[in-house]
Symmetry: C2
Subunit: 454 residues, 2 copies
């Protein structure tokens, strides 16, 4: 009996602790989002009705128009566009690629990397040299590389618990592979797709050329294609690979960041940003990357408004343009902020997918980090255990120079690279509850930042 | 400069801490599973080649034979069957249901609940009375219920962060709804499916009858169907609902738990169980529920063996039979343990889906819990933050009487009830990395239990 009384008492105490004003409000935020959020239906529209949104494309412009209208409909205090000039790369007709092994011709799925040049109209056919690293390539030397197609085949490390670390450990092949290969006289590069899954989806992504080095075409090959090519090369190192791609870089195009704002009631000059990027690659629907982050950011402001929470500080939902192949929106946003002497105290970005929340990475001083980490007891009941030093987000990165504290929303990373930059990053790959929990987590953090500053 | 040195030093210290023998072994376990695990391909076979495995069915028998063979192939020290008699309920021909609203006839998807009786051959057609709780039903009284079909339509609460709590708050309608309705003279019951998703999949599950109360047929209706029926009832309370189901309870059938064992080298009489249940509902493939838990349990033993880890204590992977509609395997296993005077120090069950790991729930004394909670620093780097009092698992539950400490593997719960007991609980709904991380988490816990006891 005594034990039961004790238990009842300790439950009362826990209950009482849970009644701090912050915890009550956070509970309300989650209830609102999990009950009334339209964010999943917004995402359906953005991904299925508008679709791919590569910078400079018609889809990107439609997304600008639609999100502006959407935020206006929410009754935010101000919705405005920020003009930025963006790179305008187009894929052109679908790529063709095959392995020619004697008389055997095996078609494999590839996708030109963003920023790559086209092949000659008739395509390129050459012998293949497979490497796993730039060092291995350099050790081979020009004698073995000249005239060939370099095939980068180092997989993402499946043992990394955080798949973004595995990505970081492999993506040099995609970003700089063409330049490294061209220095040694290669005529093209084929890069294993950045995913741990074995399937037939090529994953595109950006690549860069260095000045003074020949521009050779570069494409991603599906992981199954990479495995097959590697296996066949072991049997016949003399086989050839053919590919043809039709991409092109057009003159820079005019585009926009889209910004929705709720004015602060006490400190309107202190701004808190929550955002994602509106552009996406062209071969999927940009559902996880980063339609989710955009819809969540608008939902943060919608939910706070619906609850009648009047922020002390000014809150902005920002749809950044051109994260994927230029970052012009992120850079432009920070430039505007600087020019207008705006004081951005904090920025939160969601660009790691619409998955179940795990926490937030923080970029700031140890004191600023400590203040946010002290909120953990308020956030851990919602599955947000991982709050600490980490990365913010590409688009909000340029705000760091202005002293803004950056927060990167950290959802579970296990499924992200299954979809990332591939044709299957579609609406159906996003789970409604997971998307909403992300929005609620971001809203809870924004609420705490607004209440307590940093 | 000084700051950098300090940073370097603190990284060294962290690195040194990470080198405890336990943390090194746990890292090896994760590496082994994430690199070499066949568990996803095993699950493919179990779900796609064998398929549904309801107790007493041909699929269940095939699963017994195949998992026995699979564990024998792994070279475990002993693989054996434990005979249990199981309920043998069969669905029969697919159900038919429609709403008859004047001349309008709208077909809706239903699935008979496990254990339900059939309707008469010509089906049942009756007026409908919608309620959200037993209290509401009782308040209406026999006068309003008699001769009608009771429609239970209280949704799972979407604001519960742990969806299992939301399930627990709604599942009384499925389990006891028929009996409660029959007491007031109802002729059948229709229950809103246990999921927060709005779709067209009915979710089956078990129900019970009380003695002395008429056995009336009971079925689950899809959430979209429930929404539609509810809306139409508001316009026309006099509409009728028709359903026909053809299920039947046959005599109990002979079946088995399947047990694979690695003998302990120091304390062979202390047994640690890791398990899931081999049976599944008949309308899906039982991928998350609970093919995942079974394949993970075998993977725990395979991975430890592959790493050359010789356990001090005896480890058993147990495929329990009949969790879904009888728990005869779980009860039988504990009975055998008692009869044979076996000392089960701990049991770990995975029956919450093959999703990304969050932690473990513990059932034991406060001292035993504290010992396991003290392992958190070893497990948190792998995303296992939620280690504390909780629930173990249905199948291992009966072992509690023998003093066994129970651990329930706790994956993220957000997507579970999208699939649970529905036709879409199929292989494709399981993610390879998430499945493997679950297996590695269970293996890490089993390793710690083996090394340190409780």
């Amino acid at each position: 009996m005594k034990k039961r009384l004790l238990l009842a008492f300790s439950l009362l105490v826990t209950g009482a602790q849970a009644q701090s004003p912050d915890s009550v409000t956070i509970r309300k935020i989650y209830n609102e989002v999990l009950t009334n959020s339209p964010s999943y239906e917004w995402l359906r529209h953005l991904t299925q009705q508008i679709g791919p949104r590569l910078s400079g494309s018609e889809g990107a412009q439609k997304a600008v128009d639609w999100t502006k209208q959407l935020m206006e409909q929410q009754g935010f205090d101000r919705v405005f566009l920020q003009e930025v000039m963006v790179p305008h790369w187009v894929r052109g007709a679908k790529e063709v690629a095959y392995i020619q092994n004697g008389k055997q011709k095996i078609t494999v799925p590839i996708a030109a990397l963003g920023g790559s040049v086209a092949t000659p109209t008739k395509g390129i056919e050459a012998q293949v040299i497979e490497v796993k690293s730039f060092q291995e390539l350099r050790d081979l030397g020009a004698g073995k590389v000249k005239g060939k197609i370099v095939f980068y085949n180092r997989p993402m490390d499946p043992t990394k618990l955080n798949t973004f670390e595995a990505y970081a450990g492999a993506v040099d092949q995609r970003g700089n592979g063409a330049t490294e290969a061209a220095r040694l006289g290669a005529v093209g590069t084929i890069v294993r797709s950045m995913t741990t899954v074995l399937d037939d989806n090529p994953h595109t992504g950006s690549m860069r050329y260095a000045t003074g080095v020949p521009l050779i075409p570069s494409a991603a090959i599906s992981t199954n294609g990479a495995e097959r090519l590697s296996k066949m090369l072991k049997d016949n190192p003399g086989l050839t690979f053919y590919f043809k791609q039709n991409c092109e870089t057009l003159p820079d195009a005019k585009s926009y960041n889209v910004v929705g704002e709720i004015k602060g009631s006490e400190k309107p000059d202190e701004i808190i940003v929550v955002g994602g990027h509106l552009d996406s690659w062209d071969i999927g629907q940009g559902a996880h990357d980063d339609g989710s982050g955009c819809m969540q950011s608008i939902e943060v402001l919608r939910a706070l408004k619906a609850l009648g929470i009047k922020p002390k500080r000014t809150l902005r939902a920002v749809m950044f343009m051109n994260e994927e192949n230029g970052l012009r929106g992120g850079i432009g946003y920070a430039d505007y902020a600087k020019k207008n002497n705006e004081n951005h105290i904090a920025a939160v970005e969601s660009d790691n997918g619409g998955f179940t929340p795990r926490g937030f990475g923080i970029v700031g001083t140890p004191e600023q980090r400590a203040k946010a980490i002290a909120w953990k007891p308020l956030l851990a009941p919602y599955g947000l255990h991982e709050i600490g030093a980490g990365s913010g987000g590409a688009d909000i990165g340029p705000l760091a120079q202005l002293g803004t504290v950056l927060f990167g929303f950290k959802p579970d990373s296990q499924r992200y690279f299954d979809f990332h930059h591939a044709g299957i990053d579609r609406f159906e790959s996003v789970n409604k509850r997971e998307l909403e929990l992300g929005a609620a987590s971001m809203a809870a953090l924004v609420y705490l930042l607004d209440q307590h500053g940093l």
